[in-house]
């Protein structure tokens, strides 16, 4: 209650704190008050202690048993210019050594635990815990993500993992990085494969690390991967975007680099015996996109990715109930459980070809010509197939290149 006040300031006592306490009766008549804190006295008379309860140092004023001063109702005017030290010394001189100890104790306690200044916001109960929890929860994420959900801090945290996969695991060799523009938009079109789409992450990392301007590539991700629990969120945080016309257009109009895999789900689900045979390129949506947004197409060939999960067959009847298009059957999966999903450490080659400037040749109106779109789409497909075949013919080993 009167925790922080100096001696004699009893809330029930009308006297102000500056007033010297009421003159106590002579010290000789008063038996010394037993005190817990002062070790020199207390053992003197245990009987006396039992008779009278120990006065509480916090609440009971000193000399409470003394008769109240007749002038207590009319306190004398406060004297100015007195310090606490002065008061302490005066009081102590009057009351003797025990009281001096108590006074010093209160004075020290007040210094250690001062009253909070007025006007400061009081803390919530458990606010410290709450703040700590917030700090822990925000540790690996930034409070700003770009408009498609890439979290820079999270991406920086997983980058060592991707670097390990890029440099040590797949030992990616990059060619033709100079074909990627330093400024302005561009649509990277690549072959897709590998059951689990590592190729998008590798293209992203390759351009970020090895291109002169360290540009960010935003790969477009199929719906089923994007809405796959955990995996989709992970891909979104490191920069993947759900594949749809609106998103791609918005990115390209912001002059970003976008990577598309027009083979889509057919590409991921290629069987081992179909490897490196590019599937149909959708309905040519990427050509329309490039023509409409006036972006050059940069063909890219990924060699090595098609062998990481040699898929022998796929089961689709059970998969529908789980919400995925098929369950892959490989030599290791599902026989080894989750360990069967570890990819084979093949040697990868990543090659960017010369940009195909369809946008300048045909213009935005070409996007309405279905036959033209289909022809251009087929042209891009055969260009990528050529690049893949050329690299394959020079390769001697799947695992060592």
């Amino acid at each position: 209650m009167s925790d922080h006040r100096v001696l004699g300031d009893n809330p029930f006592e009308p006297a102000p704190p500056a007033e010297p306490a009421a003159p106590a009766p002579p010290a000789a008549e008063q038996p010394p008050e037993p005190s817990k804190k002062v070790r020199s006295k207390p053992r003197a008379q245990p009987a006396a202690k039992a008779r009278r309860p120990v006065p509480d140092i916090e609440t009971e004023p000193l000399g409470a048993e003394a008769a109240p001063h007749p002038a207590a109702d009319h306190p004398p005017p406060p004297e100015y210019g007195r310090t606490l030290d002065h008061e302490v010394r005066q009081e102590a001189a009057r009351r003797g050594l025990v009281d001096e100890f108590r006074l010093v104790e209160r004075w020290v306690r007040e210094r250690i635990q001062p009253e909070p200044p007025a006007g400061e916001r009081r803390r919530l109960p458990l606010e410290f815990l709450w703040r700590r929890w917030r700090d822990i929860a925000m540790r690996d994420r930034s409070d700003f993500v770009d408009e498609f959900g890439r979290d820079p801090m999270y991406a920086a945290r997983v980058e060592p993992l991707i670097r390990f996969i890029y440099e040590k695991y797949f030992r990616v060799e990059l060619e033709g990085c100079e074909h990627i523009p330093h400024v302005g938009r561009g649509l990277i079109v690549a072959n897709h494969s590998g059951t689990v789409p590592y190729d998008g992450a590798m293209i992203m990392y390759a351009v970020r690390k090895e291109h002169g301007s360290h540009r960010e590539v935003r790969p477009l991700v199929e719906d089923f991967v994007f809405h796959f629990p955990y995996l989709g969120t992970f891909i979104n945080r490191i920069g993947g975007v759900r594949a749809c016309q609106e998103n791609a257009e918005r990115l390209l109009l912001q002059d970003q680099l976008v990577a598309v895999f027009p083979e889509g789900i057919k590409g991921i689900g290629k069987l081992y015996r179909e490897r490196y045979q590019l599937q149909r390129f959708g309905r040519g949506g990427f050509i329309k996109l490039a023509l409409r947004t006036d972006s050059p197409i940069i063909p890219a060939a990924v060699v090595g990715a098609e062998e990481i999960h040699p898929m022998l067959t796929k089961v689709s009847w059970l998969a529908k109930s789980v919400g995925i298009p098929y369950i892959p059957i490989t030599p290791t999966f599902p026989w080894l459980g989750p360990r069967g999903l570890v990819p084979r450490p093949t040697k990868w080659y990543l090659r960017f070809g010369e940009p195909l400037p369809f946008n300048t040749e045909y213009g935005a109106r070409g996007a309405e010509d279905r036959i033209l779109v289909n022809r251009l789409s087929e042209q891009v497909r055969s260009r990528i197939q050529e690049m893949v075949d050329e690299r394959l013919s020079r390769r001697r080993s799947v695992l060592f290149g």
Partner: protein, 346 residues
Amino acid sequence: MARRKKSSTQPSARSFDPGERVVAVTGAYSFVGGELIKRLEEDRRYYKVLAIDIRKPAFPLTKTQFHKVDLTLPTADAELSGILKREGVETFVHAAFLSAPTHNATWAHEFESIGTVHVLNACGEAKIRKFILWSSTVVYGAAPLNPNFLTEDAELRGHPRSRFINDKAEAERETARFAKENRDTTVTVLRTAPILGPRIRNYVTRFFARPACPTLMGYDPLMQFVHEDDAIDAFKLASDEDFAGAFNIVGDGVLPYSTILAMMGKVPLPVPHFVAYPLAQALWATQVFDSPPNFLDFLRYLCVADGSRAREVMGFRPHHDIKSAILDFLGVAAERHDLASEEGRA
């Protein structure tokens, strides 16, 4: 910016003109309607404001007249058109919508969907010059096929089983029909993102008032809010000048749901989605939990709108991005908590 500047200089250019515009606002007791009336009262260009609700607004009214009209009554349209004609209303702001889903679905339907029909009938009858509807971006619905940014032209999918969302979507459809039939009336639809702020009470603030919030395991969609002051700004802007069409009123920036929870210091409760839906259904049916199970879709899939049309056409500039909206909501929530504990002690 230029547009905003122009509108702010206009009253001073003719500051002695008492103003002749008469505005009617439904939902005057609710936050959006009430705050808009406060702004309109300060503006000298407006001669008179009609506050329409079943309860009188709690703040002092100077040039505002209160009219008690219950939109669920079948005679509401006749009553309303009489008032509109008598007072010579030129702008009608329809903001009488529920701010949180209710268990009383039939009443909600009567109020939101049929009530809007009554309002539109009255406005057509009284030949209103401008009609402004408050809608929400939830009418687009959270779906796996949504693009990251829904434009105003996107389909109003609503939600197959959510009355709260479908009533709003129905009100929008009725308004679109009204706009087609009454070519002379400027029809503005403002679709606000979920409104967050220190003073407003709606399903969002109620959801984030809990110390722990459910998350669907493996799903972490991006979310978007608009600050309450910015939302009111948009309404004021739309009633000051004429903008026909629908506009998404959204704050800048998006954040993943998990980051929002972390910023707010909430404890996430991960639940698998196949458990969460039946569980939420049970909690909603027993009235333990106050959001229906289909709201879980918003914790699973994207529903983020593109505000560029409001920016370009209306000149709407939100003053708060998502982070400052959250911090504003949070700071005041903390203060409120503090005050509450203070009162409890005293």
